[in-house]
Symmetry: C2
Subunit: 377 residues, 2 copies
């Protein structure tokens, strides 16, 4: 697996259970997955020699993130390594311009959008779609980085002047959608075409970062849930995705609109470790190995996952909070990623599974809030 | 954790989730846990230097097996390392003579038993208890090794002559109990005295090895289940156990009788990975770290675990069977231990969780039987 973050770290458990010889390419010994996986190859994801070292001992390569340049993936293919998902599929998760073009061609529901090179083009787009608008860089953003809500041309000018475009990124502008809900539809798909769909979940983003996930999405119109699932399965097939695909969508005025794609295990699926029969991490591995996929269904009426995100204020070591949160709630599932505390950094998450949604929400938020030092009782 | 077997391997997942800096002492790079854990100390469990190397980087030491000689554990304590469970508790799992003495003193239900040095003493014991009898070596046995059912003094003479006693082991003789059921009561206990009890499970042993576990034990009189749980909690407290304790019991003529003790995660608790809110592996770690314990309750009416044991006949690599068992049953949970196939070796296990016991039993046995090459469809 290329990348040593928390997604690789959480993939280690099913890899061990399934007897998979699992290695990660990590940038340092201290990176999240490198702390817990036996076979670590040190190096950068955009260093051809590091990729070659990983590939030399791997039959199949997959990803913890989407940042490997496509030409380097082609080189891995040339070496006879199976790259899953392949570069052609992955490009849609690497480049929002490419994604928007393909989804538009498919007839998938997307916001009004345009590629722009100059602030004047954004203003022209605003004449049809009004302000505010969403300005994005097509490549390299994550967790809210590389996405801005803009109110006027002056803001656009400043942003476009101050933000360098690298790696063939382009500017995109999209209509601003005052959504009622954000949802995520996750599917796993194998090279031989089998696919399974997880229940559609509700996600809450704070400052562009995933904060809370509820599975299944409470209050979501069942027809829209089915539509989102169908769409995710169709995207997986048409883009030839192998592994997990997350389709992040807005619910706006009773319809769904695609926001983002991710082709790997995704924050909106962490709930599945405890809340589904087969977790997204196991199904990602089974898919990339072309093994039959596991049951994605829930084991209980409600599962809530809340991220533990580094606060702006200093907090004690997270383990010091365990005594309180574990004693208060023996059913709380705590996951830490082995990272030092920094503001706005995903440090871990908690999950609660149960029958009563309000209770499950309260418990998950209490656990996360206590770990983040937001509450102290 | 001292020992690099499958119990250490399965402990790695909750160790990573809880952000525990987890190391194993393994005899080789290829040992089960050494394949998947980042920090491996190579060496033997009875090599003081190897133990010192592990201890040099550990605050707390615990166990994958009971084979470390007590004086070496005392040396670790002298170095300031916390050893959990401690040598005084662990001795009861290391030496059946010690265990029988203590349980008898506690008034716990045990079979009639005696320490014997000569075949004639076994025959004298038979005068009160009849043949067959159970002859045991007090130390070093596992998975049916070191335990024999004997029918007459000639067999006893042969066994006692052919079997060397090492490590201060002694011979024990016990009455043979024609049990109706074997059960296991597992509890986790912390240094500060908190304890939680898993539901009592039914175990089926084949040739002295655990073959099947059903949680909770079907058909077990609820009063006996409560009695077994109370007894396990009492043993944990009186012996000052820290971590998981498994009390293996016979149900005979409507009463329970203690057969064995284990002070570590135990084969009778593997079902808890998917079938309980908090697994035995996580609760063992939480207990030895003196963190509050997790909820041991089941998440569904029935969980069945079946061991995958190396057959006497050659079989293809286990992964080749995945395509069939996973396609046939997407809800099957497969765990492999990374071991080469040898007869009578525990290679892995499968678990199924569900509402209908017969269905869950059928599915788990089908998965295990197919993996073991017992069936081919």
């Amino acid at each position: 697996m290329i990348g040593g973050g928390q997604l690789a770290r959480m993939s280690a458990a099913p890899a061990a259970a399934l007897g998979i010889d699992f290695a990660v390419l990590a940038t340092s010994e201290g990176e999240s997955a490198a702390q817990v996986v036996r076979r670590v190859v040190l190096g950068d994801h955009d260093d051809p020699q590091a990729l070659a070292r990983l590939a030399a001992n791997s039959d199949i390569v997959t990803f913890d993130h989407e940042h490997v340049p496509p030409p380097m993936l082609e080189q891995l293919l040339d070496r006879g390594v199976l790259v899953r998902p392949g570069p052609d599929a992955l490009r849609h998760a690497q480049d929002k311009w490419h994604m928007r073009q393909t989804l538009s061609q498919m007839g998938a529901p997307v916001p009004a959008w345009a590629r722009v090179d100059h602030p004047g083009e954004v203003s022209a787009f605003a004449e049809d779609n009004g302000w505010p608008l969403v300005l994005k860089i097509s490549r390299g953003g994550y967790d809210g980085r590389g996405v801005w809500v803009v109110e006027n041309e002056t803001q656009v000018e400043t942003l476009m002047r101050q933000t360098p475009l690298v790696d063939a990124a382009v500017w995109l502008v999209e209509e601003y959608l005052p959504f009622e809900m954000e949802i995520s539809a996750q599917v796993a798909r194998s090279p031989h075409g089998q696919a399974v769909a997880y229940p559609v979940v509700r996600t809450v983003q704070v400052e562009g970062m995933c904060a809370e996930v509820v599975a299944p999405a409470p209050g979501l119109d069942p027809d829209l849930a089915l539509e989102a699932t169908d769409l995710a399965l169709r995207i997986a097939q048409e883009l030839d995705v192998v592994g997990m695909l997350a389709v992040e969508l807005f619910v706006v005025s009773g319809r769904i609109v695609v926001n983002e794609l991710a082709m790997r295990p995704h924050n909106s699926g962490h709930w599945s470790i405890e809340g589904a029969v087969t977790s997204q991490f196991e199904n990602h591995l089974r898919a990339v190995l072309d093994w039959p996929l596991g049951d994605p269904r829930t084991i209980a009426p409600h599962t809530v996952m809340v991220n533990v995100i580094g606060p702006d204020h200093p907090i004690p070591p997270l383990h010091e909070a365990f005594r309180h949160v574990m004693a208060r709630d023996p059913g709380l599932h705590v996951h830490l990623y082995g990272k030092s505390v920094r503001p706005r950094r995903k440090l871990g998450h908690v999950t609660v599974v149960g029958d009563d949604l309000d209770d499950v929400l309260d418990r998950a938020h209490h656990g996360a809030d206590y770990l983040m030092g937001v509450i102290d009782e």
